[in-house]
Symmetry: none
Subunit: 189 residues, 4 copies
DNA sequence: CATGAATGAGAATTCATTCAT
DNA sequence: GATGAATGAATTCTCATTCAT
């Protein structure tokens, strides 16, 4: 029993969208997974597109919120800020693997609306802020921040996916190695 | 006029799959884009699933072939081999952006068959070979190759996507910076 | 208004299959005749083939049930048993002419499944039992029962079809004459 | 190699129509079976409907011709005429089982044109003539000829089908038994 | 509020027919 | 004449959405 059908629906949708994609997922399938009637979904979301956008925004919200929790101040050393970012991201990837997979595989989809895209860009801005500050300090390499973000984000999404799939073991050495690799990718040499 | 309808269909499918995904693309839409009748598609491909698998395998083939062209021998220095890989990958990303986007967004899809998955893993093996040799020589950092591959591949796919989208300018400095970043991510420090 | 859409669909299908055959009948045509949406048919039957098999089995069930209703015991005289069979068959042919036409024109079709064929053979077994007993008593002529069944069944299906078509009048003299003819065809002389 | 593509097409169509019915048979399937191109069929027959009507009429022609060959004169004893009919019909059923199955399963089809129906009725007229003469002589029972024809024709089609299917062995005793049964069905008692 | 049966527009696929070679 | 690749209308089937209960 759950105290909230809306949440049940979003969780079911997340699970299915992450696995089969938006277009590969039917509304009745979401209803079944959520253990609600198909019609119930339409009491909480105007239609399938509204549902996917709501879900996307909530997922990005969670990810962004996760990264900001207990974050060092803007005055803290970049390396420390990056470490916090990495730890949080890695926790999120571990605890919310479906959300990360869903965000990643739907991020450029045509059915995402203005608000969804805006929300995702705001999330990227957090990273951008850190990198821009680092470049000002000469600690981060001078490539465009958008390029650096794309690389770090792309690298992390992918590497946590192979971890989730069990291809490699998520030991603390591995995580340290990944953090080092990412840091080396963006720091000035 | 084209000398080959099969090619027209594959190109149309690539374009649409890359943009809207497999499930978001209708067969008549492919037919229209390819300027053939809808029924014609079924003369060349048994069904939509066979079409997407054929396309996937051909794209991976192209990518792998591209990376192998004029590749330095296995005895060449790792840095040189990596450079060649990067240059080829960047050329492919530039000339075949849709193929790269298509591969990337469909690589784990449930409708891909055994052969498609096998073909993609063979492509990854090429990278693995280079990294494993580098680790033996102590040049590449000791994280599992699957993790390093995921990071480099993820970083490159993503960064070339933002380049394609015009977010950043593909200057030679940028490309040098990206290559350096990727190399720094995987080399031993 | 009917209390059961499944029944509406089966009746519509029976009517159309009897008239135009399985392959000559489209699903939307059945839907229209049944006054339901085309999609509704698929809520009740997995596909067109399942529909035709369900219908076939139900029709054979009705025919067999009809023949068994108030049937004389296996100890009753063969002539009496045959009379009962004939009367029941003739009533069925009169009241369920479409069912009889449908069964007859689809009985050997390739799309009928194991269960459908089995059900029809069970129906034939009822006749076979009567004829075999008659042969044991020397009342029925010694040709193989399968041949006698084929003849009687073939003769009756065909003659009731011409009656239904209005080619001949279904007077009681006619029915008596047909019963006599069939009996004469199978009795020992 | 055959000297006549038209014949090849008709034979292929006969074989397929007999097995799967008109609507269940595709024109390309006929072409393949006939070892001609699909387009070739349209050089000999305007369309599929013309093909099936031509075939139907040729088959009925063959059957009627078969029954008339060496037929006793109208003055010959009815029993002798019936014997000849039975022998010829049985030969036809044996040598042209597909033609008989095809005629039987398509005889009332909606796509048969005027000429096809007319041709089939002319065939029935041959039987009718014999039975009417027999009734005049008091040898044949007084049921309407159309009913008697339906019964005899229905019985024979069905019984030769089970013989063809190997359910019963076509011994000369069996054939004699069948002939006797049919004769007993229609003679006056 | 919640449901799930019902719907029909739209998707994948087939096939009778045409026509350039 | 013969072919079979190409076609698009028609067919089977799916699914987002509605609405009576």
């Amino acid at each position: 029993m759950s105290n909230n059908k809306r949440t049940d629906i979003l969780e079911a949708a997340l699970s299915l969208f992450a696995e089969r994609g938006y277009d590969g997922t039917t509304v009745p399938a979401i209803a079944e997974q959520a253990k609600v009637g198909a019609g119930t979904i339409y009491r909480y979301f105007e239609n399938k597109e509204v549902l996917v956008n709501s879900l996307f925004q909530e997922c990005v919200e969670q990810l962004a919120g996760s990264l900001l929790t207990d974050a060092p101040s803007a005055e803290a050393p970049i390396r420390e800020r990056f470490h916090h970012f990495f730890v949080r991201f890695s926790q999120f990837a571990n605890g919310h693997d479906k959300a990360l997979a869903f965000i990643d595989s739907h991020v450029n989809a045509l059915f995402l609306d203005e608000a969804s895209n805006k929300r995702f860009n705001e999330f990227l801005d957090v990273l951008r802020g850190m990198l821009d500050e680092g470049k000002r300090q000469g600690i981060i390499c001078p490539s465009p921040s958008d390029a650096l973000i794309a690389m770090v984000y792309g690298a992390l999404v992918r590497v946590f996916k192979v971890i989730k799939n069990g291809v490699v073991e998520p030991s603390s050495e591995l995580l340290q190695g990944i953090e080092e690799s990412c840091w080396n990718a963006i720091r000035a040499h």
